[in-house]
Symmetry: C2
């Protein structure tokens, strides 16, 4: 493990000079010395000790990717294809810019604070924050924090998110335009000030616009894992009047499609489904899943860009990036003929045989 001292010794210069060369503070060093030092660095295979740097500089080049959602059913947060794909994109972009990525789950804000100070963490990515226990501590921190899909606002924070409202509105409108009137909404727990709430509002707005009464009975909350999706499918099947479903994640939509199929309900013949995200999965399902597209790699890019700008002390001109969403039409939505009034709950008087 070669150190700066070793290089200094080998080249016959001082540590200061070596350090200066390493940091390109080359104005005050002779060309010859630079050359010598660089050769020695190569020769001795020198790499900086980040701990030492971190200690003296109070910063570490470590960026934390924080997860604070502990899924049930012993699943891991990384089982969410969205989260994981995003993490991969972040890792790559950070690495290309000289940063390191630590993955960390925290359950309390104390844990979070401890983590930050343990490592002098330089910046933080945080997914799915709402006005909850984390908000207060986060807003006191003076390191760059980039939220993904958050609807809390604070001068210290950046955010990259989506047109959630519009996406969900579009999805719902799509069903309505295809003749659906009785449309359910399926989502993980909807929290105040979160993405899902926004999507929920989009759903409601579309209903309202078409004078379709909102019915709390057909809003279903569920975890994202398969078993939970199967369970919620049974609930849904108990509402045979539902002809369309707006689901806030493709992965759940897939689970529900499978669940409904097991219960003998066909998509899209008996029930139409729209997902959200447009992950590759959509295209391998039968029927393929109509969904709201978002560009996850772009999201990652923007997130890292914001982060890097803040790390370099530049204040990004926009603290918030809202990425567009659009509908991708595939096979999971069918048109209900206008004359078929099956969408109107009041006209369906008999309960189907399940």
């Amino acid at each position: 493990m070669a150190t700066i001292k070793d290089i200094a010794k080998l080249t016959g210069v001082s540590c200061t000079t070596v350090s200066n060369v390493i940091h390109g503070r080359t104005g005050r060093v002779s060309a010859e010395t630079i050359e010598k030092v660089n050769r020695a660095i190569k020769e001795l295979n020198y790499v900086p000790n980040m701990s030492a740097r971190s200690l003296v500089s109070n910063s570490s080049k470590v960026i934390g990717m924080i997860n604070h959602i502990i899924p049930k059913n012993q699943a891991s947060f990384m089982d969410d294809p969205f989260q994981s794909s995003f993490t991969g994109a972040i890792e790559r972009a950070l690495r290309e810019n000289g940063y390191y990525l630590m993955l960390r789950t925290v359950e309390t804000s104390d844990e979070l604070m401890a983590f930050l100070r343990n490592w002098n963490v330089d910046g933080l990515f945080f997914t799915g924050v709402f006005k909850d226990r984390f908000f207060d501590v986060l807003s006191t921190l003076n390191i760059p924090i980039v939220f993904i899909d958050s609807y809390v606002h604070h001068p210290n924070f950046c955010n990259v998110g989506l047109e959630d409202f519009k996406g969900s509105y579009t999805a719902t409108k799509h069903l309505i335009d295809h003749g659906h009137r009785r449309i359910g909404f399926v989502s993980p727990t909807i929290r105040d000030g979160g993405v899902l709430q926004e999507r929920f509002y989009g759903y409601k707005a579309a209903l309202t616009e078409s004078s379709i009464p909102f019915d709390k009975q057909i809003v279903f909350e569920s975890e994202m894992d398969l078993e939970s999706c199967f369970a919620v499918s049974e609930e849904i099947a108990r509402h045979p009047d539902i002809t369309g479903l707006v689901v806030t994640a493709d992965i759940m939509a897939a689970g529900i499609m499978a669940g409904l199929r097991k219960l003998g309900r066909k998509v899209p013949d008996d029930i139409s489904i729209i997902g959200f995200d447009d992950i590759p999965l959509c295209r391998v399902l039968t029927p393929t899943l109509t969904t709201i597209h978002q560009d996850i790699h772009l999201k990652g890019e923007h997130a890292v860009n914001l982060m890097l700008q803040k790390l370099e002390g530049k204040e990004p001109e926009t603290a918030e990036v809202i990425l567009p969403t659009y509908l991708v039409e595939r096979e999971s939505v069918r048109t209900i003929k206008p004359d078929s009034k099956s969408g109107y709950g009041s006209l369906v008087t008999e309960t189907p045989p399940f």
Copy 2:
């Protein structure tokens, strides 16, 4: 940011004593002092600076999770549901034991070495290593290294893997037992000494056992992303005599099923498919995917166990854990009636209409 010094000052003892209390070296400290120090720690909200610790102790509590596979098509390694789910499991287990997880992609062994020395990395998880450029450097390191799914052996390494040969053998045998004779094999690039080679051998062994000639023409290599799977589907469709497919990853199997469907070939009517992994995806496909099950959470647990043992200096009794695989029968394999000789290429003289 309270430091040990602050605590020392507040309590009126020396740094040494504080450090001793923190580390439970409590034999040589009075009960009263311990009490005082602990109170101060709470009060000042002290958390250790890991960089400082790392600097003086040459170890860091940082475990690296190394990825060295750079997928094409701008996908990220984390897009592999297997990799990501595994990463999540590792993070959790490490955290519960006081370690930190850094995610890192490296392209060369130099990059790997630099990373290790940058952070005094204490241990390494490495997926998919074969006798390649990394082997040599890794074997010179004296930190715990746990491989996942590797077939290279070395006294310094631990490994947790699967019955790959048996799994693949079982899959192939399953098809044969259901009357298939013309069975293709689909996999990402098969490398010497890798998991996929092992699975490939299992496939061949099953063929041989049933006196089915091996045919290189129907071994297909492809990347795991959807577009690549679609592409390989077209290749497969050019071999209409193939009635069964052994695929080394569910995620690919899903892509191929979708690809074949687009080409008008039905699973399992026209072609039967068996996957590998048994990820949740299998159960949302239509037809649901028959596959070889492996327990990914168990894999993660074993991997962390081996790691922790080595970190604590214990030599684990077994340096290798081989997890069982078994077949999960679902809907993607059909029985070919014995009298139907369609499996014999020689008897299929006409090329179907595509």
